[in-house]
């Protein structure tokens, strides 16, 4: 009996041990699988026929990006990661993912662009350029040339987004270090300053020579003024003009609770697309654009009440989007890969709002605006969505990814960066 007992006891023990081992094996397999999958993985939703693949991830605060003629992607980091401020991402085997990732540049920032054999990149005070050789390598990654220096950066709207035209000019956003040019920034009851002294050195787009070194304010021209802050901008080669996306003012309700409720404050003012010419004035800080009334409204700091119009000398936007979505990227599509409707149209990357609280946040997507003959030819539509991780992540503002930069590849695909986690997606059609 005792023999029998001990025999069955041992069999059971053996079975238990086996199943434990099996379980342990299963667990380790599962955990391996999980570790290969990024817990922040999201699935982007795109129009039919498009697909998105993760080109690279976990790169840090990846802001704007640009693609060289050979397909190399250069992306600017907001701040240094492992001492580097720019990554070169190279897909060496054509699988749509970057295998060869190398870093250089000892400054953080936002702007990056390639023109005439140079890679231009900006910090929050300066613009540098690196020469590219015939083999598409950076000649001297440790010693860039300084193109522009001494630009204002005062803790607000400091990103110096850049664009270049085909005429040897470099355009630099110098954002206003203020919300609405009050005597005391963002302080309830503080009046607006008229004229706004900030506009002398910020709150606009400055034009510099692309090939002249060590330029500063005196060497440049204030190309356009009355722009609170621009992060997304692109030279439109079909109109031969600069298009910009303005970040509209914040806090209408906080500062003027008697004039604006939280819902109006979440929706207003519009995030505006402007087409600029030399001498353009877009009206900040004196007015804002109300996309619901389709009017330029006098800012409350300057005597406005939410209804009085103003800014007769200020130009109207080309497109007016809902408030606070934070347009950080702009690209006019010139590729041949996407369907015909996308040709010469605009992709706008919305970083996502924060200034809509306590109302739900919004944005974290890429939209498309069709263009014909240099003007919008239809309503804008959401092109790529799902960066945030879902409606709850969007509403709370705790988005998993925040799309920021956009660039077109030689094959007509586009790349979109995310500065929350450092993911780069490649979006292609029909392959």
């Amino acid at each position: 009996m005792s023999h029998l007992f001990s025999k069955s006891f041992y069999s059971i023990l053996a079975l238990c041990t086996l199943s434990l081992v099996a379980c342990a094996n299963n667990t380790s397999e599962d955990s391996t699988k999980k570790s290969e999958t990024n817990p922040d993985d999201v699935t982007l939703t795109l129009p039919s026929g498009f697909k998105a693949v993760v080109f690279a991830e976990n790169l840090g605060g990846t802001r704007h990006l640009t693609v060289n003629a050979n397909g190399d992607v250069y992306v600017k980091l907001s701040r240094l990661k492992n001492g580097k401020g720019i990554y070169r991402l190279r897909d060496t085997n054509g699988d749509g993912k970057a295998e060869d990732i190398s870093g250089f540049g000892n400054f953080g920032g936002t702007g990056i662009a390639i023109k005439n054999g140079y890679l231009y990149a900006s910090s929050d005070e300066e613009v540098f350029r690196f020469k590219l050789d015939a083999n598409n390598n950076i000649v001297n990654p440790d010693k860039p040339e300084k193109v522009v220096t001494g630009l204002l950066s005062r803790h607000e709207h400091e990103a110096k987004a850049i664009a270049l035209d085909n005429n040897g000019n470099l355009y630099v956003n110098i954002g206003a270090y203020s919300n609405a040019c009050q005597v005391d920034d963002r302080q309830k009851g503080s009046p607006g300053m008229k004229p706004c002294p900030i506009l002398d050195s910020a709150g606009g787009i400055w034009q510099f020579k692309a090939d002249k070194l060590n330029q500063t304010y005196g060497d440049g021209t204030r190309y356009a003024t009355g722009l609170r802050n621009v992060v997304g901008l692109d030279w439109n080669t079909s109109t031969n003009t600069l298009f910009v996306m303005q970040h509209g003012r914040d806090q209408l309700h906080d500062l003027f609770p008697d004039m604006y409720d939280t819902k109006q404050s979440a929706e207003l003012p519009a995030e505006c697309m402007y087409e600029l010419h030399k001498g353009s004035n877009c009206g900040w800080p004196y007015i804002y654009y109300d996309q619901l009334q389709h009017k330029k409204i006098l800012a409350p700091e300057f005597g406005g009440d939410g209804k009085k119009t103003g800014g007769e000398d200020a130009q109207d936007p080309v497109v007016a989007f809902p408030g606070h979505l934070a347009p950080n990227g702009l690209l006019f599509y010139t590729g041949n890969q996407f369907p015909e409707k996308y040709k010469n149209g605009a992709f706008v990357v919305f970083h996502g709002s924060w200034n809509r609280a306590p109302e739900p946040q919004e944005g974290y997507y890429v939209v498309f605006v069709p263009f014909k003959d240099g003007k919008p030819s239809g309503n804008w539509e959401v092109f790529a969505d799902g960066f945030s991780g879902g409606p709850d992540f969007t509403a709370s503002g705790r988005a998993k990814h925040r799309p920021c930069g956009i660039a077109q590849a030689p094959d007509g695909s586009i790349y979109v960066s995310d500065d929350a986690k450092g993911t780069i997606w490649k979006i292609s059609y029909g392959k």
Binding site: K188, P358, A420
Partner: protein, 142 residues
């Protein structure tokens, strides 16, 4: 032996805390009222930037959750509300650089309430800030 000691210690702690609770009951009521009032001030003045959950906004507005700025030196925290902040702060290796306005137009009690609310919300647990403490910091600044 060890378990016995542990039990004794836990037991006495329990007793002490019961005693403390009964003694601090009026103070707790005051605390609760202050938090309630502070919540309203937070909604009017702080929520847009620091958000409903106190988590702030990436690279712009610092979180108010479990940071030394909120849980540490009371005088420094009061000063920030009175003066605003335009130098930016770095928390856990992330820079936050948006401008914070001065809120010196709030009363001493409103500032005490809102800071007490913040120090006892979003997972924070710290001592209340009193009207007298705000008054003292404000007086020094003049």
């Amino acid at each position: 032996m060890k378990i016995n000691r542990l039990l004794t210690v836990t037991g006495s702690l329990f007793l002490v805390s019961i005693l403390m609770m009964s003694q601090t009951k009026p103070a707790q009521n005051t605390l609760k009222a202050s938090i309630e009032r502070g919540k309203k001030v937070y909604a009017d003045r702080c929520l847009t930037c620091h958000q409903l959950d106190g988590g702030g906004v990436q690279n712009m507005n610092p979180p108010l959750t479990k940071t030394k700025w909120v849980l540490g030196d009371k005088a420094q925290l009061i000063q920030i509300v009175l003066n605003g902040l335009n130098t930016g702060v770095t928390i856990d290796d992330v820079e936050y650089h948006n401008v914070m306005a001065s809120h010196k137009d709030l009363t001493d009690l409103q500032i005490a309430d809102v800071l007490t609310y913040v120090r006892n919300s979003f997972g924070n647990k710290a001592k209340a800030i009193t009207e007298a403490e705000v008054k003292a910091v404000r007086a020094k600044m003049k």
